[in-house]
């Protein structure tokens, strides 16, 4: 003998097993199912037949779960982007503070930088893990991050260059070799994004998107860490500091593009395989 309530309870269990665990969607779906069964039964169908037709119309649990995940992504993406913005403001605030006019002690600045980095990490992981898995979109996002890092490095490297090109005191302190090193670092920063694009042929193909994202985020954070370490090092003579600083920025720029290179390599492989 067909038991409608038992059948609905079994259907609910199937939905839960498929991963529709949040109460609101499941409750809404059950209400819908009951309304449809009621309508079918009023039209003259038996309880069993009405149940079969109604569950078929509602759709398979796997597909529904995927669709609900998409809805979840929209809000997680917003939270992620908001967190990245907050973290970036903290990091920039600390890095752009003049050493003589700093309100915080060095160890407090390091703590704030770590906190800012953690917020950026949380934001990026939320924003990226919940993005729809569309290869070209991921490549574009990582490319923007790579360009941002490169532009940041170029901007910060240009400031001391302007100093030794225009201020006689600094100009005298920086010899030809130092200048070559600094300009080489600047070139590396500018070309880093292009470099990652070209490197896609020799880069390993990481099939798991989550792993690629983690490596990309780790690259970005390592870049921030390098800048922070360089920033907080004991003051060096201008000529050595400028070389070390510019190459640290160049490395940060290169690391910031790691995500782009890996995504590009994976995308190329997908295109070849398909």
């Amino acid at each position: 003998m067909f038991d409608l309530e038992q059948a609905i309870a079994d259907w609910r269990r199937q939905m839960l097993a498929a991963g529709i665990k949040t109460p609101v969607p499941l409750e809404e779906l059950e209400i819908h199912l009951r309304e449809e069964i009621e309508r079918q039964m009023k039209a003259g169908l038996s309880g069993q037949k009405a149940f079969e037709i109604s569950t078929r119309r509602i759709g398979s649990p796997e597909i529904l779960k995927c669709e609900f995940k998409k809805a979840e992504r929209t809000s997680m993406k917003k939270i992620g982007i908001f967190a990245v913005a907050i973290g970036a403001v903290i990091i920039l605030r600390i890095l752009t503070e003049h050493p003589d006019a700093a309100h915080l002690r060095k160890n407090e600045q390091v703590e704030w930088l770590i906190a800012g980095g953690a917020i950026v990490f949380f934001g990026l992981s939320n924003a990226f893990f919940y993005f729809e898995s569309n290869d070209s979109r991921n490549v574009r996002r990582w490319k923007i991050i790579g360009i941002f890092y490169s532009a940041f490095a170029v901007w910060l490297t240009t400031l001391p260059i302007l100093l030794f090109l225009t201020v006689p005191k600094f100009s005298a302190a920086v010899g030809v070799i130092e200048r070559v090193f600094v300009f080489a670092a600047l070139a590396v920063s500018v070309l880093s994004v292009l470099g990652w694009k070209k490197c896609r042929e020799i880069l390993p193909v990481v099939p798991n998107r989550r792993t690629r994202t983690m490596v990309g985020i780790a690259g970005c954070l390592l870049g921030i860490l390098l800048i922070a370490l360089c920033f907080f090092m004991t003051p060096l003579p201008f000529s050595i500091g400028i070389i070390l600083g510019s190459w640290t920025l160049a490395m940060a720029s290169v690391l910031g593009g790691a995500g782009y290179g890996l995504e590009k390599a994976a995308q190329e492989r997908t295109l070849i395989d398909s």
Partner: protein, 110 residues
Amino acid sequence: MIRKELVAASAEPLVLALLAQGESYGYAIIQEVKARSDGKLQWTDGMLYPVLHRMEHRGLIKSRWGESETGRKRKYYSLKKDGKTAMVKHHEQWSLVHSVLAGLKKEQYV
């Protein structure tokens, strides 16, 4: 039967347009679309709810729990200000597509 890609693309504008007439709930929205399209526009019933949730996350619509006349729980959806703006945009875009298609069809018979 209408292609599934078109059905998916039309879901948001249709929901917005229906909710512009007053608040409604999932089951009623599906029945209304079915009736208005003579059954040609068929959604997989359950697929409407993720669409509604997505639109709610995006701030186009809002929801509240209520009760039907028979005492059954129901989640009612209604349009928000951003939803009205989105509806106008959808309408403009779909009208444009329609007018281009209609113009091309007309030219074939001239």
